[in-house]
Symmetry: C2
Subunit: 225 residues, 2 copies
DNA sequence: CTCTCATTCAAACGTCCGTTTGAACTATGC
DNA sequence: GCATAGTTCAAACGGACGTTTGAATGAGAG
């Protein structure tokens, strides 16, 4: 089982662990799918950028869709884990209010994913795009990954907002989900004016998270029936 | 210049005006682009469904992208017109408040487009999808159509919310735009359970509009800094 | 009827797509 | 050494893509 690009086999003992072909494919797939969407990105574009053979995708994953599925699962895992952790923590201290729940949902999606170096925004854009891909088949693929936590949030939100109808709570939840995905995908940043030296594409992620949370808290607390 | 399918030339005086090839292409393009996205929809699928020759697209529009552009322009025109009309009407009576402005923005997008028969939801889904297509090129195409009114809304919202910073107002506006597009595209309706006999895909459009407006009004009034 | 011109049509263009194949390569176990 | 199994590779597969071509069609003008 060769690890490739280890440049010889002896040297490169500590230097750059060098990603495996599989990891490189997942990384590039995240980036390209996030930029051009599933249909708009070819396997050839991915494999060329990943310095891999065109057949590598089918060898490691089985198909283009399976590559996407693997990328979604890998990208969502830490977000889901963090959301569950926060929910556990909140519920251990009694009944959380709406703001705490919204924060526990949004921050893992923006904070955790917009930080950590240059790959953060790439992962965020990828997740946001997949969540609202034109193809329902692909949206379901995302939904399957996020469903598990969804039910817990809905139930907790309902308890935090007892005067709101179940339909209203569900309405608020999908709005929250949608706005998060939109900001993750950076689809709302206007085309012109490339940011000069800033951290990355757009504003400070922390500020964005706070703004979005404040926006949603107000809407949940007073905008539901 | 034959009008095709006028069945003879004399008969069919009042009966079914029968759409031209050009109109049929626009109608089907709206539907298919709205369902599968731009990249996910082939010209062959469109021309077959429109009972037109594959070459008809390039004859009438010049290219696939030009067909999309024409469809976007046609779909957006009445929405933009209605928004301008409402804005004129509001501003003639003094300074409108946030709720009035939000209503004047949302209702033409949902109401006017979700009503009018079975084509309403088709047009809505199309607009919503194009607004957040994975390809930036296509998003810009939508933005170009909606830009003209945008500046007026931003300015009016700023006057209605003098305590909010310009950045906050812009933030609220893109959130409003995003949520509207999401509901238009019906991307948030869960896959299962096909609605039995109901008007169409989902809830009562009027109720949706009211819920969304209430949600946004609360967020604008108390969720901006 | 004849000419004109917008429209439709079948067919083909070259290119790119996702996927498959079978041989080559490479590290490891014996 | 040899066998083995995991991985990479160039090449090709059939099919679908957007676009182009040039001839057929049909209605209206003279």
């Amino acid at each position: 089982m060769p690890e490739r690009a280890v440049a010889g086999g002896k040297e490169n003992s500590v230097e750059t662990p060098v990603e495996s072909t599989r990891e490189r494919l997942l990384n590039i797939a995240e980036q390209r799918f996030g930029e051009g969407g599933y249909e708009g990105t070819s396997l050839r574009a991915i494999t060329v950028a990943a310095a891999a053979n065109i057949a590598a995708v089918n060898y490691h994953f089985g198909s283009k869709e399976a590559l996407l599925r693997a990328a979604v699962a890998r990208a969502m895992a830490p977000v889901n884990t963090e959301r569950r952790r926060r929910l556990d923590q909140l519920e251990a201290k009694g009944e959380p209010n709406a703001e705490q729940l919204i924060r526990a949902f949004i921050e893992p999606g923006l904070d955790l994913v917009l930080r950590r170096g240059e790959r953060g925004p790439v992962v965020a854009r990828f997740i946001g795009r997949v969540a609202f891909d034109p193809s329902q088949r692909i949206r379901e693929l995302y939904a399957a990954e996020s469903d598990p936590v969804e039910a817990r949030y809905l139930a907790a939100l309902q308890r935090a907002l007892p005067s709101a109808s179940p339909e209203s709570v569900a309405f608020g939840y999908v709005n929250m989900l949608g706005l998060l995905a939109l900001h993750q995908s950076q689809a709302l940043t206007r085309p012109p004016g490339a940011e000069p030296p800033g951290i990355d594409g757009g504003e400070d992620p922390g500020k964005l998270a706070e703004d979005l949370i404040a926006f949603l808290v107000a809407a949940f607390d007073r905008g539901l029936r």
